[in-house]
């Protein structure tokens, strides 16, 4: 198990290989379908986006609501391929890591190789278990989107597997 402290710099990305089990500690941001669309539209118009993408990790997550006194509800990954259309533009702006599940498009993998980024999978369907590794959660943008709002999370020892590394090696293509 490789312990990684965020932010995810290029040097850290270069040290990761497909198949590595990692645990992530630090700040990450959530964004899924609707948030990706808004970020992508803003980037296309040259407008500000809610957070700096440089050396950032995005978690493809729409959590269930938190109970009173809890940080977050169930919090597992959603299917990454729905974000494929928008991802190359985010990689260009410095996005270094994505946490999700399932396959990525050739365009995304090409972008990851070009800009040195890594794709992690978290275990789909283990949302209760994964929620325990999230220590804080704050909506920072697009509150109107409900579960699809952008949240800043602080995660501690968040478990993931490197599925596609920055050389394009892909654990799903065995």
């Amino acid at each position: 198990m490789k312990k990684i402290k965020l932010p995810l710099t290029k040097e850290k990305v270069l040290g990761l290989k497909a198949g590595d089990m990692v645990s992530l500690t630090g700040e990450i941001y959530t964004a899924r379908d609707a948030a990706h669309l808004r970020i992508w539209e803003s980037l296309n118009k040259g407008e500000e986006i809610p957070f700096d993408l440089e050396n950032t990790v995005i978690y493809y997550l729409g959590p269930s609501p938190a109970r009173e006194g809890k940080v977050i509800g169930s919090a597992g990954p959603t299917t990454s391929s729905r974000m494929d259309k928008y991802t190359p533009a985010l990689l260009e702006k410095g996005l270094k890591g994505m946490i999700g599940k399932g396959r990525r498009s050739a365009e995304v993998i090409q972008g990851m190789k070009e800009h040195k980024a890594v794709y992690f999978a978290a275990v789909g369907g283990a949302g209760a278990l994964l929620s325990k590794r999230i220590k804080s959660s704050e909506v920072i943008a697009y509150d109107d989107l409900g579960t699809e709002a952008v949240r800043k999370l602080y995660v501690e020892d968040f478990p993931a597997i490197v599925v596609i590394d920055c050389a394009g090696n892909n654990l799903y293509e065995r």
């Binding site: 729409g62 269930s64 597992g76 399932g102 396959r103 369907g125 949302g127 209760a128 278990l129 579960t147």
Partner: protein, 280 residues
């Protein structure tokens, strides 16, 4: 004739929405435990034990098993002697879903218009399937369906000449295409026969059948067995990272069809195959 106030329907639908999202049925849990014992891949075994731990935690700490608490699919089997009072039945069902998703801390995952995509904020409307049966009972089943797996489901309009092998090939193709996207290990409901929409509904209903039972017709029961074995040889494995557990169970429902057709629907579900029923 028996009168049933629709407030009772609201109450039951609410309870079923919550119950389904925090615990799975015994047959699903048994299949997961069995898979954990037999899994040959070390990483796969590790992932299956995380899923077992996740189920335990969900129940103990009341955290939904999966953050995708689904679009609510509601099946109502209504005895033809029943007379509903106190309001419109469909409103009562939607109100039950609304209350269940609010009071149960469940995710609101429904957008009102499929293209404008504004979240309705209360997880309504549910998809409702009514059927009229003999008697004076009402059976309600709530099956919240997550879309990671729903998106990987398929319909094939096969030719009669494709036969049983064509059906099996179609199912295997759908499973391969789903691969790591549908959160394997999967559960699979297959509908064979009927019309375009009928086979899709059969496939959905098949997901609510018990995994440890088999189709009453021996050739279909045999197909369930064979497909389970063949799918588990695909080496997709838990989380799509390899292993002998790709599918925890497959059930098939069949219906009569047209002389020219062989419709097949494959409804894919992850291990969080949620369905809760009550009879009133």
């Amino acid at each position: 004739m028996r009168e049933i106030n629709v407030n009772l329907i609201t109450e039951k639908v609410k309870e079923l929405c919550i119950a389904a999202n925090y615990d799975l049925s015994e047959d699903v849990k048994a299949a997961l435990n069995k898979a954990h014992e037999s899994e040959q891949n070390e990483l796969g075994k590790n992932i299956l034990s995380q899923l077992q731990e996740n189920l335990q935690l969900a129940k103990e700490e009341m955290i939904p098993i999966c953050q995708d608490t689904g679009m609510a699919v509601v099946f109502l089997e209504i005895g033809q002697e029943v007379y509903f009072t106190g309001g419109f039945l469909e409103d009562a069902i939607q109100e039950g879903v609304r209350q269940g998703y609010q009071e149960g801390y469940l995710r609101k995952s429904v957008v009102g218009d499929p293209l404008l995509r504004v979240n309705t904020g209360d997880n309504t409307p549910a998809v409702i399937h009514y059927s009229i049966v003999p008697g004076e009972q009402v059976k309600i089943t709530v099956a919240p369906k997550g879309f990671g797996s729903e998106n990987m489901s398929r319909i094939f309009m096969l030719k009669p000449a494709d036969g049983a092998q064509g059906v099996k090939d179609a199912v295997l193709q759908a499973v391969k295409d789903a691969g790591p996207n549908a959160c394997p290990p999967m559960m699979i409901g297959v509908g064979i026969g009927g019309t375009f929409e009928k086979c899709a509904q059969l496939a959905k209903e098949a997901l609510t059948l018990k995994l440890d039972e088999r189709h009453p017709s021996s050739h279909i029961a045999q197909m369930e067995e064979e497909l389970l074995e063949e799918i588990n040889r695909l080496d997709i494995g838990p989380a799509g990272l390899g292993g002998t557990t790709t599918c925890l169970g497959i059930r098939i429902k069949t219906y009569a069809t047209h002389i020219a057709g062989l419709p097949v629907a494959v409804n894919i579900c992850c291990h969080v195959n949620r369905h809760e029923s009550v009879e009133i």
